[in-house]
C-alpha cells in the first residue's frame, strides 16, 4: 500500500473511529478531528517531499483489481498537478476545522455527523485527485457530492435544502453526462485495445472525430458545471450562500477545482483533437465568465454571494489558462487553482467570522471594522487583495502567467481578460471600503476581534498567500514539468519561447 493510499484512507478511518467517541463531548470530537486532519496534512507534506520532480510519470502508484468484470482497478498515483491539489485540500481541511470550530453546533444533526461528513469528504477529495483509473475517478467525483449535499442541507443557513438539491442535481446531471462519455470511451477501448479504464492506455485510443467530440462534450459539461463556468454556474451562488463558511471553503476551494483539474486531466489528455475543436468556444465561455462574474460580483449585496461570483470570474481565468494550450497558460492555471484555493479560503473564513459576529451577511450592515476589530479587518484586507491579484500576493503570479500564456495564442481574449482585473479592483475595493473603513455603523461597535484559535487558523493561510506571491518556485517546480507534458501530449507547441523560468 503506497503512502498515497494511506493518506487517503486515514480520514475515512478517522471517520469510522468517531463512532467510539462520546456524542456529548463535542470538544473532544473537534480536537480529535483536528488531530486527524493535521496528521493527514503532515502526511501529504511528506508525500510532496518524497516526490521526484525530475520525472513526469505518476508516482506513489498503486493498482489493485477492484471490479474485474470491467477491468476496473483501484489505481492511484500522483503527478505534479494532482500533488499540489492534494496538498491544497489536505492543508485546507485542518484549517477549516480549526477556523470554524463552532460551525457544527447549529446544524440539523449532531457534531459527530458533521465531522464524519467532513472526514469522508476529505477522503473523497484526495481520491478524486489521486485516481488514475477513469472509473475510480468517476466514483469519487460523484460520491463526493453526497457528503457536501448533507453538509449544505444539514448545516447550512437560509434556504439550505433548496440550495443543496440544486447543487446536487446540477452536479449529478453533469456527472451522468460524463458517465455516458465514460461508457463510450470504455466501449471504444474494448474494441481497440481491450476494455480498460487506465488513463494512460485510454489516451492512446484512436477515436473518430464525431464520436470524440461527443465524448469530449460529455466530460467537458460535467467539469464546466463543477468549475462553475458560465452558463453552468447558477448553482454556485445559492450553494455558497447557504453553506456554512467552512463548507464553502471546501466547496469553492477544493471541490470546484475538480472541474478544472478534470479538464486538464481528462478533456485534454483523452480528447486532444476535440479539445482543439472546441477551444475557441471554451475560451469565449471563459472570457464571458471572467467578465460576467466580475459584474455580478460588483452588484452583490451579500458577502458570500460576492465571493462566489469572484470565484466564477477566477475560474474563468483558470479555464482560459488551460485552453490557451501554452505551457505558461497551463502552469498559470494550475498555480491559480492552488492560489485561488487559499485566497478564497481566507476570504470565506474571515467573512464567516464577520458574519457570525454581526449575525448578518449583508455588506451594508458592516462598516468601520478597521477600528473595532483590526486583526480581522487586516486579514480580510489581505485576502481581498489576493483576490484582486495584487502584485506581491500569490494570485498575481498565476494571473499573470495565464494572461501571458493566453496572449501568445489568443490576444483578444487575453486583453478582455485583463479587463477582468480592472473590474476585480472594483468588486474587491468597494466592499472593502464599505466594510472596513469609514464610520463604524450601528450594531458593530461591540464586535470582538479574532480570538487566538482564529488567529492560528488564519495565519498559515495569510502566510501562504504572501509567500507564494514572492516565491512561487517550489510549487511551480512541481507543476511545470507536468504542465509542459500535458500541453505537448495534447499536440501543441508553445508559440514563443518559455518565459519566467
Amino acid at each position: 500500500m503506497s503512502l498515497l493510499t494511506l493518506i487517503g484512507a486515514l480520514p475515512l478511518l478517522g471517520a469510522g473511529l468517531i463512532y467510539f467517541l462520546p456524542s456529548k463531548n463535542s470538544e473532544l470530537i473537534k480536537k480529535y478531528v483536528f488531530v486527524v486532519t493535521t496528521l493527514v496534512a503532515i502526511g501529504s507534506i511528506f508525500l510532496a517531499l518524497g516526490f521526484d520532480k525530475s520525472v513526469t510519470t505518476m508516482q506513489y502508484v498503486q493498482s489493485n483489481s477492484w471490479i474485474s468484470a470491467f477491468n476496473i482497478n483501484f489505481a492511484v498515483g500522483v503527478d505534479g498537478i494532482s500533488l499540489v491539489l492534494i496538498l491544497l485540500s489536505t492543508i485546507l481541511v485542518p484549517i477549516v476545522v480549526l477556523a470554524t470550530w463552532n460551525e457544527s453546533e447549529g446544524g440539523r444533526w449532531g457534531v459527530k455527523t458533521f465531522y464524519v461528513l467532513i472526514l469522508i469528504l476529505e477522503t473523497m477529495m484526495i481520491g478524486v485527485f489521486a485516481a488514475t483509473d477513469l472509473f475510480l475517478f468517476y466514483v469519487f467525483f460523484e460520491a463526493m457530492l453526497i457528503p457536501v449535499y448533507f453538509l449544505i442541507g444539514g448545516y447550512g443557513t437560509g434556504n439550505r435544502s433548496a440550495a443543496a438539491i440544486k447543487f446536487l442535481l446540477y452536479s449529478l446531471f453533469g456527472g451522468l453526462l460524463m458517465l455516458a462519455s465514460i461508457i463510450g470511451i470504455y466501449v471504444i477501448s474494448g474494441n481497440q485495445i481491450g476494455a480498460t479504464f487506465d488513463l494512460t492506455q485510454l489516451a492512446t485510443l484512436e477515436i473518430d472525430n464525431q464520436t470524440e467530440n461527443f465524448l469530449f462534450l460529455g466530460f467537458f459539461i460535467a467539469f464546466a458545471i463543477k468549475a462553475p463556468l458560465w452558463p453552468f454556474h447558477t448553482w454556485l451562488p445559492d450553494a455558497a450562500k447557504s453553506a456554512t463558511p467552512g463548507t464553502s471553503v471546501l466547496l469553492l476551494g477544493v471541490l470546484d477545482k475538480v472541474g478544472t483539474y478534470g479538464m486538464i486531466r481528462f478533456c485534454l489528455a483523452l480528447f486532444p483533437d476535440a479539445s482543439k475543436t472546441f477551444t475557441p468556444l471554451i475560451i469565449t465561455l471563459a472570457v464571458i465568465s471572467i467578465i460576467y462574474g466580475a459584474f455580478m460580483a460588483i452588484g452583490q449585496k451579500d458577502i458570500k454571494g460576492l465571493i462566489a461570483f469572484t470565484s466564477i470570474s477566477h475560474f474563468g481565468f483558470i479555464t482560459m489558462g488551460i485552453f490557451a494550450m501554452t505551457s505558461q497558460g497551463m502552469s498559470g492555471a494550475n498555480l491559480y487553482m492552488v492560489n485561488h484555493g487559499f485566497s478564497t479560503a481566507a476570504l470565506f473564513l474571515v467573512a464567516g467570522w464577520m458574519m457570525a459576529r454581526r449575525k448578518s451577511s449583508t455588506i451594508s450592515d458592516f462598516g468601520g471594522l478597521q477600528r473595532v476589530t483590526p486583526v480581522m479587518a487586516w486579514s480580510f484586507f489581505i485576502a481581498g487583495m489576493s483576490g484582486l491579484a495584487l502584485p506581491g500576493l500569490s494570485s498575481f503570479v498565476s494571473e499573470f502567467l495565464v494572461l501571458v500564456g493566453t496572449y501568445t495564442r489568443y490576444p483578444v481574449a487575453a486583453v478582455i481578460g485583463t479587463l477582468g482585473i480592472v473590474l476585480a479592483a472594483l468588486y474587491i475595493l468597494i466592499p472593502i471600503q464599505k466594510t472596513l473603513h469609514g464610520p463604524t455603523t450601528e450594531g458593530n461597535e461591540n464586535l470582538k476581534d479574532l480570538n487566538l484559535r482564529e488567529k492560528i487558523a488564519i495565519a498559515p493561510v495569510i502566510a501562504v498567500i504572501v509567500v507564494m506571491g514572492f516565491y512561487p518556485k517550489p510549487v511551480l517546480d512541481l507543476i511545470n514539468p507536468t504542465s509542459e507534458k500535458i500541453v505537448a501530449n495534447a499536440g501543441f507547441t508553445d508559440p514563443v519561447a518559455e518565459v519566467n523560468k
Partner: protein, 502 residues
C-alpha cells in the same frame, strides 16, 4: 406410438421443491389448527426456499440442461435467475410474514361485522404463504421456459396468486381490492395478447419451441412472425410495466399490501426480464432488425416517462412504482444490447434492483400512524429526525435507485449502459443517462423531505420492526451495500452464468 419421456427431475428439483412446499402449504391450511399455522407455514416456506437454493447450487454444473421434454432449459443464466428469484423471495417472505399487513378474512366486506369478528378472534391470513410459494415457483419456471406454452403457463402461475395477494391488504381494503381488480383485468388482457402472439409464432414456425422459431427465420411467412413478436412483446412488456403498458403499475403498487408490493416489484421483474431476455436472445435473435428499433423506442419512452411522471407523485409507493417503470426502461437496454455483456449486466441489475426494492418497501411498511401505513410523502417530512437510522437506510436505498456511485444501482446502470453502448445504441445510453438525472431529482427530493425539513405532524412514526422485518431489511440493505462496494463478487458470477443455451 408414444414413448414415455423422461423429465429430468434433478434439473427440475429446485422448482419442484417450491411447488411441493406450496401444495403442502395448502394441506396445512386444510388440516392444521389456527394457533400454530402461521409459524408452521413460515417455516415451510423458508425451508423450501432454502432447500431450493441448495439444490440450485448443486445442479449449477450439470452438463445436461434441457428437461421436461425440452420445454425448459436449465442453463447457467436460468440457474442464476432462479437463484435470484429464490433469494429475493427468501427476503420477501420475512416481510410478508408480518401478519399485520393482511386482512384477517379476505371474503369479508370491509367494515362489516364479519371482518370485525375475524379481527377480534385474531384470525390470521395464512393462505398467503401457499399463494406466495406458487407465485415463486411460477417465477422460477418463467425464465427457464423454452417453449411458448410453458412460458404462458408459467406466466399465469405466477400472476394469478399475485392478483389475489394484491387484494388482501388489511387496511384500506377497498383500495386494495381495486388494485387487485385492475391488476387482474389488465394482467389477463396482457396474457391474452401474449397468447395470441404465441399462436402466430407457432403458425410461423410450425413449432412452439423458441429454438424452432429462431431456426425458422427467413424461411416462412414474415407477417406471422411480426404479428407474433409484437403481440408476445405486448404481453411481456406489460409484466415489466414498460410504457405504454405501465398504467397498472402505480395503482397496484399503491393498493397492494406493502410486502406484496415489495415481492411483486422485485421478483416479477426478475422473472419477466429473465423470460424476455431468453425469448429475445434465443427466439428472436435472428430477426433482430424486426424488433430492435421498436424495443429501443419503448425503452427510451419507458425511461423518460417513468422518471418524469415520478416527479409529480405525492405518494411514496406510487413514486417507487414510477421509478420501477423507469428501471424497466433501463433493463430493456440490456435486452436491446443483445450481447453477452447485456445479459450479464441484466442479471446483475436484476439482483441489485430486487434487493434495493425489497428493502425500500420493507421500510415503507414501517412508517405508520394509528390507522396504518402512511405513504403520503407530505407526512414523511422530518422522519429522519425521529428515526435517523431508518431515514438513513431509506436515503441510502434511494441513492442506490438513483444510481449514485458506490451503490449497487450505479454498477448495474453502468454495466447495462456499457453493454447497450457496445451494441451501438448510443441514443439509448444518452437517454438513459438523462432519465437517471431526472430520476435523481425525485429521489433526492424525498431525502430532503425526510432529512432537511422539520416534522410538522407528530402522528406519523416509525414502528419498531419485528425481528422478521428487521432481518429482511437488514439483509437486503447489507447485500445491496456490499454489491455497491465490491460488485465483483456478483459481477463475476453473473459473467460466468450469462449463457443461454439454445
Amino acid at each position: 406410438m408414444l414413448t414415455a419421456p423422461s423429465l429430468g427431475y434433478m434439473l427440475l428439483s429446485p422448482m419442484l421443491i417450491v411447488f411441493a412446499a406450496a401444495v403442502i402449504g395448502v394441506l396445512i391450511e386444510a388440516f392444521m389448527g389456527k394457533t400454530h399455522r402461521a409459524a408452521v407455514q413460515l417455516t415451510v416456506s423458508v425451508g423450501a426456499l432454502l432447500l431450493s437454493l441448495l439444490q440450485l447450487w448443486r445442479i449449477r454444473d450439470l452438463s445436461s440442461t434441457t428437461a421436461a421434454v425440452n420445454s425448459v432449459t436449465i442453463d447457467k443464466a436460468g440457474i442464476f435467475l432462479q437463484a435470484t428469484v429464490v433469494i429475493l423471495a427468501l427476503i420477501a417472505v420475512l416481510l410478508i410474514a408480518d401478519q399485520d399487513n393482511f386482512t384477517a378474512q379476505a371474503s369479508a366486506i370491509p367494515g362489516s361485522n364479519e371482518e370485525a369478528i375475524a379481527l377480534q378472534q385474531n384470525n390470521q391470513q395464512t393462505e398467503i404463504f401457499p399463494l406466495f410459494l406458487f407465485a415463486v415457483a411460477g417465477m422460477m419456471l418463467f425464465p427457464v421456459a423454452t417453449d411458448l406454452i410453458t412460458l404462458f403457463v408459467a406466466l399465469e402461475v405466477f400472476s394469478l396468486p399475485l392478483y389475489l395477494l394484491a387484494g388482501l391488504s388489511r387496511r384500506k381494503r377497498l383500495l386494495s381490492q381495486e388494485a387487485a381488480l385492475k391488476y387482474f383485468l389488465l394482467g389477463a388482457y396482457a396474457s391474452a395478447f401474449f397468447l395470441f402472439g404465441a399462436a402466430f409464432l407457432y403458425g410461423y414456425a410450425g413449432t412452439i419451441s423458441l429454438v424452432g422459431i429462431s431456426a425458422a427465420a427467413g424461411s416462412a411467412n414474415e407477417v406471422f412472425l411480426l404479428i407474433g413478436i409484437v403481440f408476445v412483446s405486448v404481453g411481456l412488456l406489460f409484466k415489466i410495466s414498460a410504457v405504454p403498458f405501465h398504467s397498472w403499475t402505480p395503482d397496484v403498487y399503491q393498493g397492494a399490501p406493502t410486502p406484496i408490493t415489495a415481492f411483486m416489484a422485485a421478483c416479477t421483474k426478475v422473472a419477466a426480464f429473465g423470460a424476455i431476455l431468453r425469448i429475445f436472445y434465443i427466439g428472436f435473435a435472428e430477426v433482430e432488425t424486426l424488433w430492435r428499433p421498436i424495443i429501443t423506442v419503448i425503452a427510451i419512452l419507458t425511461m423518460l416517462l417513468g422518471s418524469v411522471v415520478a416527479i409529480a407523485q405525492r405518494d411514496v409507493k406510487r413514486m417507487l412504482a414510477y421509478s420501477s417503470i423507469a428501471h424497466a426502461g433501463f433493463l430493456l437496454s440490456g435486452v436491446v444490447a443483445l450481447n453477452k455483456d447485456g445479459l450479464a449486466a441484466s442479471l446483475f441489475y436484476l439482483m441489485a434492483y430486487g434487493l434495493t426494492t425489497l428493502a425500500a418497501f420493507g421500510i415503507i411498511g414501517l412508517v405508520r400512524d394509528s390507522s396504518g401505513e402512511v405513504t403520503d410523502l407530505n407526512r414523511w417530512i422530518g422522519l429522519g429526525k425521529k428515526s435517523p437510522v431508518v431515514g438513513a437506510v431509506f436515503a441510502f436505498l434511494l441513492l442506490s435507485f438513483a444510481g449514485i456511485p458506490l451503490t449497487s444501482g450505479f454498477i448495474g446502470k453502468f454495466a447495462i449502459f456499457s453493454a447497450a453502448y457496445q451494441s451501438g445504441n448510443i441514443a439509448l445510453v444518452v437517454t438513459g443517462v438523462l432519465a437517471s438525472a431526472i430520476a435523481a431529482f425525485f429521489y433526492i427530493r424525498v431525502i430532503i423531505m425526510v432529512f432537511f425539513t422539520d416534522p410538522v405532524n407528530d402522528s406519523v412514526s416509525v414502528i419498531i420492526p419485528s425481528v422478521k422485518s428487521r432481518i429482511s431489511i437488514t439483509v437486503a440493505t447489507a447485500i445491496s451495500a456490499v454489491l455497491g462496494l465490491a460488485p465483483s463478487l456478483l459481477l463475476n458470477v453473473a459473467e460466468n452464468f450469462s449463457t443461454f443455451i439454445k
